[in-house]
Structure formats: C-alpha cells, structure tokens
C-alpha cells in the first residue's frame, strides 16, 4: 500500500537516482574537478563568426546539461572578428574563453596565443580537421541552396540548375571574400563544377549581402527568391514555419570546418574546457546537427534534417590549396561578379 512515507521515500530515491544520473551524465564531459571549477567560474565567453541564432541554440543545449554556466556569445563576421580579436589582444583586453574562426588558414596564425587542449573524444575526429593540437572542428558548415516556396514554383535541384537559361529567379549571394565558408563555395564551384560554370554563374544578376543571416532574412521577406546559404541558416526558420525551404543540391555540398581554440588569456579556463568538451562530444554535435541543421565531422555523426536518406556528395577543400589559391581566386571572383570592395 502506498502510504505517504513510502511515497516520500520513492520521491527521495528517484531524486537521488536522477541527481546521480545527471551527475554521471555530466561526468562524461570532464573530471569532477574540472566540472566543479567550471561551475565556480560560472561563465564562458565565446567569440565566433557563426550565426547568432545557431550559437544560441547550441548554448541552450549546453545549459540543459550545465545550467549553472552562462554562455555569452560575441559574434562578428569573419574579418571583423579578427580585427576585434587583434584590437582587444593588443590592449590586453581579450576576453574570449573560446575563439572560433570559420577559416582554418587565418586561425593558425593565432596558434602561439592558444593553449594546448584536446577533448576526451579527440580520436574520433579526422586528422585533417585538427590544427596544431590546439584548434578543433567545433562547427561544420555545409553550403546548400534555399528558396522562398511562396514565390518560387519550380525550385532548383542542383547548382547546375542556376545557370539554366530558363532560370529567372531573384538571386542573392555573399561575396567570396567575406569569410571561410564563402571562399569554400567559390572554390567548390570552380574546382568541382568547372571554369565554364564559374563564369556562367557570375553572369547572373545577384544582390550582395554581408553574411548568411541577412541573406536568409531577405529570402524570407521575398527580396530575393533563391540563394546559396549554409544549412544552419535555413533549417531552424523552416521548422518555425517561415517561408524558406532547403535544397540539398545533387551535384555536391561544399563543407567548411571551423577552427576553435582556447586562448591562453581565457578568464574562465575550466568553463572553456568544459564547454569545448561538450560541444565536441556526440551530444553537442547532435544538438548542432539536429536543432540548428548543421553538419559534423565526428565519426558516425548524424546528418541534418532531410539529408539522411539522400546520398549527398560532400566536398571538403584540400587544406593546402584552400590557403594557396585563395587570394588570386577571390580577386578573380570579385572581377567576374563586378563586386567592388
């Protein structure tokens, strides 16, 4: 018979079990000592070029596991982020606990200022995505297509569809030189789809945007009707019912991998490590893929919504060429697209 006393005992037992389970679950992400220190610090400051909403969703996932640690996100587009980091570092005021750049090439110049760090599951990431034992592929982006379903009745299915003479939608694009992901896309177009495609696409009329969020917003509003976008800029809005749909082009998705590390001057080093451990873990990467719609380099990771059943051609740029071809090809891109800097 369930008396009050028994019920109370049951509740207490469940509570202990739950608490222990939660503690055990938390322990997957770091030693007890690390977790205790991180909770004491209570704060982790993240500098990133990633879209704000995506990072906020990631922070929510982290807080579901570690509610005592606040995540502050400082966001700026690629080159502005670098300028900010440089200015703050020079004044001795760099407040970043975790620094993430979309550009592995540019990030490596910060290696001397970063701390050695490796997550518990380091071995499950491909060697090419780890830089110097300090930088890790926290975020993987995939460049896909998007369109406004209320205004576009025949959406494109591939990159090649864009240069079809019958294709007459209002196109938007981000300049190739804006950051690492846009450069990957430009490189993908030229290396994989060919020079002829590269030139033909540039003949189309494009409206330029500075980064993904404004471009995605423009698609939703109908200012442009079709645009290349990163998958994480499309999927959350699509899920909320906004008039935007994702298309995984069948001739390939260009993948860019971020480089994230912990500066030596991090004010909250334990919280930084705990955060990175979580983000790079299966749970963290799953949050990124499932709620934000991104990709992941983790072995055996999931695919974003709608891509699971497709046989996507994922293209990752060669690390050396990514750095060596960049300046020259971006100059040509600007000329072709008539983009004045």
């Amino acid at each position: 018979m369930l008396t009050i006393r028994r019920a109370l005992k049951l509740v207490v037992a469940l509570g202990i079990a739950f608490g222990t389970a939660s503690a055990v679950a938390q322990a997957r992400f770091g030693s007890d000592d690390l977790i205790a220190k991180a909770k004491k610090e209570g704060n982790v400051v993240l500098y990133t070029a990633n879209q704000l909403e995506s990072e906020q969703l990631l922070a929510k996932g982290f807080n579901a596991r570690f509610p005592e640690i606040k995540v502050e996100i400082v966001r700026a587009p690629g080159s502005q982020l670098i300028a900010r980091i440089d200015a703050e570092a020079a004044g001795g005021k760099l407040r970043a606990d975790v620094m993430e750049l979309s550009d592995g090439g540019l990030a490596s110049r910060y290696l001397p200022q970063l701390d050695n760090y490796a997550p518990p599951n380091a071995a499950e990431y491909p060697d090419s995505t780890r830089v110097g034992g300090k930088l890790w592929p926290k975020t993987t982006w995939g460049y896909v297509l998007s369109y406004n379903p209320a205004l576009v009745k025949n959406p494109p299915k591939s990159w090649s569809d864009l240069i079809d003479p019958k294709f007459d939608q209002k196109l938007g694009i981000i300049p190739a030189g804006a950051g690492g992901t846009t450069w990957s896309l430009a490189m993908f177009h030229r290396q994989v789809l060919g020079e002829a495609y590269w030139k033909a696409l540039a003949q189309k009329k494009f409206t330029f945007f500075s980064s993904d969020a404004p471009l995605a917003s423009a698609v939703v509003r109908g200012e442009v009707t079709v645009a290349p976008l990163k998958s994480n800029s499309i999927i959350p809005m699509q899920r909320e019912g906004a008039p935007i749909r994702i298309v995984y082009p069948d001739d390939g998705v260009s993948i860019t991998v971020s480089a994230a590390g912990i500066p030596r001057t991090a004010p909250n080093p334990s919280a930084a490590r705990l955060f990175m451990n979580w983000v790079l873990s299966r749970e963290g990467q799953d949050v990124w893929v499932e709620t934000s719609g991104g990709f992941s380099m983790l072995k055996g990771a999931k695919m974003p919504a709608g891509a699971e059943k497709l046989k996507l051609k994922l293209w990752v740029p060669d690390v050396k060429e990514y750095a060596s071809l960049r300046e020259a090809w971006i100059k040509e891109w600007n000329l072709l697209y008539n983009y004045r800097q």
Partner: protein, 586 residues
C-alpha cells in the same frame, strides 16, 4: 559663440587680484592640460597615424616612420572620391531639405496664427530624440524597394508607384527630416528676437505680407538660416548609422562607412582610416569656421536680450493648411517609423505578401523580445550604456561647470584659449573621435582602453561644446553682485561657488548633465572603435544585431531603446528644462 560671451564677462572678483603672476596660471593650466589630454592629444595622434604606416594595435607607434603615402593614396583612390561625393551630396541635399522644413516650422510657430502651436513646436523637436540608427532602420523597413511596408501598401492600393529608400534620395530624405530641428532652433530664435519695427515700416510703405517676408524678414535672418544649415551639414557628414543602413544595400559608400570598413578589414587599415578621417575633419572644420564667422558677435540661442512681440500673420483658412503640414511631419517623423518598428518587432516573420496579411494577428508574437533578453549581452549593454551615461554626465558636468565658470565668471589668463579648445570638437565628426581615441589610447598602459571609462571620456570630449554652452547660459544669468557680496562677507572663491553660484545655477547644471547623459546613450559613431565585448553599449549592440541579420531582434531592441529614451527625457523634462537645451545643443 565664445567671443560673444567674453564680451559680456564680468568685473574680477577681489580675491583674484592678489594672486602672483605665475600662480594665476595654475588653474587655467590645469584646465588646459585636461583639455589637451581629452581633445588635442587624440587628434594629434590621428594626424600622426595618418602620416605613418604602423598598425597601432600591433606595433605601437613611433615618430620615425613618417610618410605622406597614406594621404596620397587616399586622395587618388577612386573609392574615396566616390565616398566623398556621396557624403557631400547627401549632406548638402539633407541640409537644404532641413532648412526648408526647419524654416517653415519656425515661421509657422513664430509668425502665424496657426492653431496648436505648442504641439507643432514639440513636433519640430521630436526628431532629435530619435537615435539616427533607429530612424534609418525604421525607414529601411518602410522603404525597402521590394518588401518595404510603404510599397506593400502602395501595391495594395493599386497605384503604380514604388519607393526605394536604399538610395541617395532616401538618405537625403531621412537626413533632412531628422535634422530639421537644428535649423528650426536657430531660425525660430532669430525670428523671435527680431525687432518688428523694420517689418512694420515695410508694411506701412505698402508692401504686402509676402513681399515683406521676402525682402525684409528673410535677409535679416539669413545668418541664422545659413548657420543652422551649415551646422546640420557638418553633423550629417559625420553620421555613421544612416548611411550604414540605407546606403549599403545599394552598394554605395559614404566617408563614415568607408572609414569603418577600413578599420574592419583583415588586417585593419588604421593608417588609411586616419588619413580619410583627417580629410573629413578638414571639410567640417572649414564649415564650422564659416559658420563661426557668420555668427560673429551674435548669439541666437541663449536666453539674453530684449523680448519683442513679433508680428503675427493672420492666415485665415490657410492656417489649417499649415497645421496639416505640421501633422503630416509628425506622422512622417514619429508615427510611421514607430509603426514599422512595432510591426517588425512583433511579427514572427517579415514576409508580407499582401496588405491583408499585415493585419493577420496570428503572425504576431513576442518571440523577438524573448530572444532579445535571452541574450546575456543585451542586459549587459543596457547596464553599460547607463554606466557610461552616468560617468560621462558627472565627469562632463563637473568639467563643463569648471570651464564655463572660468570663461564667463573669472579673469584668469588663458580664457580665450580654453574657450577655443572647448569648441574644437564641433569640427570633428563623432566617428573620427572614435578613431582618434583608439589610436591614442590603445597602447597606453593602465588599461583604460576597453573599459567603459574610455567611452565616457570620448563622449565627454565629443559633447564638450554642447554641455559648456548649456551650462554657460545658466552661469551668465547669475548677477555678479551676488558673488561680490559673498566675497565682501569674507568667503573665498570656492566657498562662494559652493554657497551662491551652484545653488543658483543648479537647474542649469542638472540640465546639462542630463543632456550629456542622453547624448551618451544615443551615441554610436565614436563607440564603434572603442568598445569590447565587456564594455559594449546599447547602440553598438543594436548595430551588431542589425548587421547579423536579426531584423526581429533589432526591431525589438529599437522599440525598447526608444521607450527608454522617452522615459528618461520625459522625467528630465519634468524636472529641468532639458528639452530646450537638447534641442539647442546641435
């Protein structure tokens, strides 16, 4: 400005005659040192920065790398030419429109019998309380070529017109409409202080009212018109927010956005930015000089002088037409942008295919406000904004009082120099002050850079002329007999200030401090280069949200900031005469 005040300065207080020759320089020396650090040092560093090739945040600075390369490149760069062209044309057009609107309202309020004049006067000054960034953002929502709310309404009504605010025309419109109050203040004061005898003489000679207006009134207030127009022109040249939002989609650059792009480059091009900044300062300094000459010896905004009763023109039924214009202005400046902001803040997505969907309640929710306050940076930016505002208000208020008292109520040497240095910041656009401070302070030890204090100091420097002017008018109203009586009773200078001057001028001092507080909260241009994630303030975060493409959150934050400003100014107006000072600040 200063010369007029000096001409009215008072007889020296007995205590000062006893000081030794060099000792008389101690106090003005202190003030000059402070002004030097606040104003001259950063500007000097700016000029030095334009003449070297070193990156101050990486390599420090030194005088050995002198080069004119930056100036040459800037002067020959077609991008700079284009930016300069855009800036000059937009500011010129904006100034002309501001003169047209401001003069019209000044005339309506001071010289006609239009009803509801108090409301019209308020409407004429309201635009000053709207941060330029918020105004530009609201108009981008209204006037975007394909999805702007105006265009949706036009399409729904069947008219074939479209508007496009992403253009020089759009910028000229926003400039003109939101800076008309500058011209209004100058011209209204001038019209109020005019001796009506000349107009009466003209009327007696048989010239009709409009003829009198054209041949007598207008020429008499021409200096005020030109002065207000020039001031508006100078301010417009230095604005960052409006071109950032309205010119960038059209891929046009202005000098201010160009300077910012240079600093945000990877790696940042500080030296070129400094060179372009000095170019901008050269243009504005020239305009301020011309304005100063026009106003030589005359003060248009202070409360001195005889009071005339200006002639009122009886408009008959036409006064309802002028009232209609005023209401239309109020609608354009306040109602339409506020509606746009509220729509964008409360609507889940800004996809508005038809007019009907604009009124679809299911499309609205509070998610953007929730997202706004979920972000820990939001509350931090509000806290920082308030802290910087208070710091600037106290430091600036104290400094302005000291400067104002020294210039207008004492005979210490060096007053003219102090007065001159105090007015220098007028000629320096806000953005440039930010670049100058960055250059000057980033490498100095002591960690001032990156704190809210560097922002507060930059704002104190930037708004020094306005605050000193506001405080001076209070100071000049205290008759010197009161101070002399205090001295005769045996009190020293400081005691006299504490017991007599301060209590009498307290409303004016408070007014000046509130003015500085409000201006600091609104300021964007100078903060762009001096903030860090720790010291981020509301205006910068708003720009961050906008450039990050979060239209909903930007709109929600705009609504919040507008309400906050309204509450602050409303409270201040209740306790002081801040509104007239704010309007007169220029």
């Amino acid at each position: 400005m200063g010369s007029a005040a000096l001409a009215q300065s008072v007889a020296p207080l007995p205590a000062q005659r006893d000081a030794a020759g060099w000792a008389r320089w101690i106090w003005p020396g202190c003030l000059l040192a402070i002004l030097g650090v606040l104003v001259i040092y950063p500007l000097a560093m700016l000029v030095i920065g334009a003449s070297t090739n070193i990156n101050p945040t990486v390599g420090g600075w030194g005088l050995d790398a002198f080069t004119v390369e930056n100036y040459l490149e800037v002067v020959t760069n077609p991008n700079v030419h284009r930016a300069m062209f855009n800036s000059l044309i937009a500011s010129l057009g904006g100034a002309l429109l501001a003169v047209a609107i401001g003069l019209f309202f000044a005339w309506v309020v001071t010289r006609t019998d239009t009803p509801l004049k108090n409301m019209i006067e308020l409407a004429g000054m309201l635009p000053l309380f709207v941060p330029p960034l918020v105004a530009a953002f609201a108009w981008s929502l209204l006037g975007s070529p394909s999805t702007g709310i105006i265009n949706i309404l036009l399409e729904g009504s069947g008219l074939g017109w479209r508007v496009n605010f992403y253009s020089l025309g759009g910028i000229i419109f926003v400039f003109g409409v939101y800076y008309a109050p500058y011209v209004y203040m100058f011209t209204a004061a001038s019209l109020k202080q005019m001796d009506p005898a000349l107009e009466e003489a003209s009327a007696i000679s048989g010239v009709g009212p409009f003829g009198t207006m054209l041949r007598v009134t207008l020429p008499l207030i021409a200096p005020a018109i030109l002065s207000g127009g020039l001031l508006a022109f100078v301010v417009m040249l230095g604005i960052y927010g409006i071109p950032a939002i309205l010119a960038t989609p059209a891929r046009e650059t202005f000098l201010t956005t160009y300077i910012f792009t240079l600093v945000s480059w990877s790696p940042p091009l500080y030296n070129k930015a400094a060179a372009v900044s000095t170019l901008l300062v050269a243009v504005t300094a020239l305009c301020v000089y011309v304005q100063h000459r026009l106003l030589a010896g005359r003060s248009f905004v202070t409360v001195a002088g005889k009071s005339f009763k200006p002639r009122q023109l009886n408009l008959g039924p036409w006064r309802y037409v002028t009232l209609a214009f005023a209401l239309a202005y109020l609608f354009v400046v306040v109602v339409a942008p506020s509606a746009a902001l509220l729509i964008a803040a409360l609507r889940k997505f800004l996809f508005i295919p038809t007019v009907a969907s604009l009124f679809d309640i299911s499309q609205y929710s509070l998610t953007h406000f929730k997202n706004l306050f979920d972000n820990p940076l939001t509350l931090r930016s509000i806290g920082n904004g308030l802290k910087v505002g208070f710091a600037a208000a106290f430091v600036g208020g104290a400094l302005s009082f000291a400067i104002g008292y020294t210039i207008h109520r004492s005979r210490t040497p060096g007053r003219a120099l102090i007065d001159y240095l105090t007015t220098v910041p007028i000629a320096v656009p806000g953005l440039v002050i930010g670049v100058a401070y960055l250059w000057a302070w980033v490498h100095l030890p002591g960690g001032l850079f990156g704190t809210i204090w560097i922002l507060a100091l930059a704002f104190v420097a930037r708004f020094l002329p306005d605050t000193v002017k506001a405080l001076s008018s209070s100071l000049m109203q205290v008759h010197h007999e009161l101070e002399e009586a205090s001295v005769i009773c045996g009190h020293g200078l400081l005691s006299t200030i504490r017991r007599i001057v301060l209590p009498l001028t307290w409303p004016g001092v408070l007014s000046g401090m509130v003015l500085l507080f409000v201006l600091s909260i609104r300021e964007l241009g100078s903060s762009l280069f001096l903030y860090t994630s720790d010291s981020i303030i509301m205006s910068v975060l708003l720009l961050d949200f906008f450039e990050g493409g979060n239209i909903g959150v930007t709109a929600a934050f705009s609504v919040f900031q507008s309400v906050l400003l309204l509450v602050i100014i409303g409270t201040a107006h209740h306790f002081t005469r801040t509104t007239t000072d704010l309007a007169a600040s220029g």
